[in-house]
């Protein structure tokens, strides 16, 4: 067990190291001079030279990358002339657009993303697993066929089409809700929920399709096993067979996949966030890309990578805990 955890952790760190190297390389293939981008449009050559000195862009690429890693692990100082800028431990540099630490910016955006992911998680667990169970229970019938078609349609649909149609129907035509604007939970919990309702439904229903498929197929697989035949022989009813016994086969995959998806969403559901204007990590990424704010882009990608990698490791662990047949090695 310990060995498995350590090995998984090592692998995760390796992935992150590769990722950091890859995204850091972005700086050097990017068109334009990072110093000029950092300094802004109206900088004269002397100012640009000063910024270059301050950001350490005169060092060799390897030294710069090592400094970047050092900043991530221990924090670093940017010194240029008289002023010394200190950047705390997970240092991702300073945003070009607003003179702030990228880490600070990202932490500020995290609650919005977290709110979105949490609601979507609840929806896909209820709707997705429910749909899957229903179609396993009604297998071979018309209900199952309808559900299968719906699931297939929802699997392929881009999430923003679902969101656009919901916005169009609910906000523009029926006018049941105003167009959503994000309200932080701490400010007004009720408004928070109302404004996140459509994003939750969009993302949750979109993800539900996948969970319905998995629940259905794992449940059906379990139904074919010997112990179910025994239950049936003892006269256990069909409904109880599916919802109480066969559903156990779906528990492990659903939990594991939920961990991965939740982690990915914490990293930012870019499409849903930008469609509904939720100021989360994903929207930060898109905004950063639009104005070529490279430290922000690199920071978000690293943060998302970290979330995904941690989620993957957690998923493996949960799978082993939920399914006794899997041994960790």
């Amino acid at each position: 067990m310990t060995r498995f955890v350590l090995g998984r952790l090592g692998g995760a760190l390796l992935v992150l190291l590769v990722l950091s190297l890859a995204v850091y390389a972005l700086f050097y293939v990017a068109p334009g001079d990072p110093a000029r981008l950092a300094c802004g449009e109206r900088c004269n050559p002397a100012q640009i030279a000063q910024v270059r000195e301050q950001l350490g862009l005169n060092d060799s690429v390897v030294v710069q990358y090592l400094h970047f890693l050092q900043g991530l692990l221990a924090g670093r100082d940017y010194s240029g002339g008289a002023a010394v800028l200190h950047c705390d431990a997970p240092c991702l540099g300073f945003s070009y657009q607003n003179d702030r630490q990228v880490t600070e910016l990202l932490l500020e955006r995290l609650p919005a993303t977290f709110s979105l992911a949490l609601g979507a998680l609840v929806i896909w667990l209820v709707v997705g697993v429910g749909t899957g169970l229903l179609s396993a229970l009604r297998r071979g019938g018309a209900t199952e066929r309808v559900l299968t078609v719906l699931t297939l349609a929802a699997t392929g649909t881009p999430v923003f089409i679902l969101g656009l149609l919901l916005l169009m129907a609910v906000c523009a035509y029926l006018q049941w809700l105003p167009f959503p604007t994000y309200v932080p939970f701490g400010e007004d919990a009720e408004q928070w929920a109302w404004n996140l309702l459509l994003p939750w439904i969009t993302l949750g229903v979109f993800e539900s399709a996948k969970y319905a498929r998995i629940t259905r197929s794992s449940t059906l697989e379990t139904l074919a096993e010997d112990h179910i035949r025994t239950f049936r022989a003892y006269g256990v009813g069909e409904r109880a067979l599916v919802t109480r016994h066969a559903v156990r086969g779906a528990v492990a995959p659903v939990i594991a996949l939920s961990a991965v998806d939740f982690g990915t969403m914490i990293g930012g559901a870019v499409l849903t966030e930008s469609l509904f204007g939720i100021p989360g990590l994903g929207k930060t990424l898109i905004d950063g890309v639009r104005v070529v704010d490279l430290p922000v882009v690199v920071g978000v990608v690293l943060a998302i990578g970290t979330a995904v990698v941690i989620a993957g490791a957690v998923a493996d662990l949960l799978y082993a805990v939920a399914d006794r047949r899997v041994t960790l090695s």
Binding site: G11, L14, V15, V18, L19, V23, L26, V29, A30, P31, R139, G140, G141, L152, A153, T155, G156, T157, P158, F160, I161, L164, L165, L167, M168, C171, A172, Y173, S217, L220, E221, L223, A224, I228, T264, G267, G268, V270, L271, S274, G282, L285, I286, G288, V289, R290, V292, L294, V297, V298, V300, V301, I304, G305, V308, V309, G312
Partner: protein, 327 residues
């Protein structure tokens, strides 16, 4: 190999049942009306996309020509006339704000969607097959390295990396090509993992062993013995990758980091759609509907191909169903 990859000729009667994997798969596919319908719709779309310049000429419209006289500038650029300005000249109306012809823009948008989706799939399959075969057949160190890289590639969030990549590529680089490269290079891990696993299990089988003992080189074995056996799972995976790639292209264009204007793209049209919900619903529904139907058709077709090529499909998930129990 050639026998297997030949376009399956439907020759009922000419071939005995089970004459080969391809005719068998074709017969199975033909029995699924949904897959056939999807295939037909896609064939029509491909045809329309290929004929886009011709159709544009026929309708006498240029996808990038502005028509200020067709939109009501007093009302913020809403198209004049009903249903988004449908007329004899503009078969599907015009774009709000600019007055550009919607029919030709949607057609040219289809070209971009299809080109990127198919191009990226081809690249993914090429990279994946080469990486997977090398990982399974190469020396141990190389194999482990590739397997590790594959794991990393699968773990990374594709959309996010593609977005970041578009930030740093020079603006004059052709966008559709960039999208093909970005999607292809970032997302070959799935194919590679599957090819590696399949090859590892095939490697120990007698026919591969026999080929090795008769003195064939590894390359020849890979080409003559392994690739034909890998064709079915690779085709299945590729068929399911096409709609995924199409959605990624549309998503990137929707986010404003994909295809650059004035080149039309369905995703890009939808990014401006929010403002026109009430004033010009046709402008929202047309690209959304087209994208939805196309992606759905590719998904259904891919699902059909999977079932047709999987020898166990059809029986596996029917276990314990009513049909089986009554039988």
């Amino acid at each position: 190999m050639t026998v297997l990859l030949e376009p399956a000729a439907p020759a009922p009667g000419a071939l005995a049942p089970g004459a080969g994997p391809a005719p068998r798969a074709w017969r199975r596919l033909r029995r699924r009306p949904a897959a056939l319908l999807a295939g037909g719709a896609l064939a029509l779309l491909v045809l329309l996309a290929l004929a886009a310049p011709l159709l544009a000429q026929l309708s006498g419209q240029d996808p990038n020509a502005y028509h200020d006289d067709l939109v009501d500038s007093a009302r913020g650029g809403v198209p004049l006339g009903s249903f988004g300005g449908i007329s004899g000249d503009h078969w599907l109306g015009v774009e709000p704000g600019t007055g550009r012809d919607l029919f030709t823009r949607l057609l040219y948008g289809a070209r971009v969607s299809l080109l990127v989706a198919l191009g990226a799939t081809v690249l993914q399959v090429l990279l994946g097959v080469v990486a997977g075969l090398t990982a399974a057949l190469g020396n141990r160190l190389l194999g482990r390295l590739i397997a590790r890289v594959t794991d990393v590639m699968i773990a990374l969030p594709l959309l996010v990396l593609a977005i970041a990549l578009t930030a740093v590529v020079p603006p004059d680089f052709p966008r559709p090509l960039l999208l093909v490269l970005a999607i292809g290079i970032l997302d070959w891990g799935g194919v590679a993992r599957m090819v590696r696993a399949q090859t590892l299990s095939l490697r120990g089988l007698d026919f591969v062993e026999a080929a090795r003992l008769s003195g064939n080189s590894t390359l020849r074995i890979a080409r003559r013995e392994l690739l034909p056996s890998l064709a079915a799972p690779v085709i299945t995976l590729a068929a399911l990758k096409v709609p995924t790639n199409m959605v990624i292209e549309a998503s990137l264009s929707f986010l404003g980091v994909g295809v650059k204007p004035p080149t039309p793209s369905w995703g890009q049209m939808l990014s401006g759609a929010q403002t026109w919900f009430r004033a010009d619903p046709a402008y929202v529904l047309l690209p959304a509907g087209l994208l939805f139907v196309t992606v759905l058709a590719f998904t259904v077709l891919g699902d059909g191909v999977r079932t047709a090529l999987d020898p166990r499909a059809g029986s596996r998930l029917r276990v314990g169903t009513r049909k089986e129990r009554t039988a």
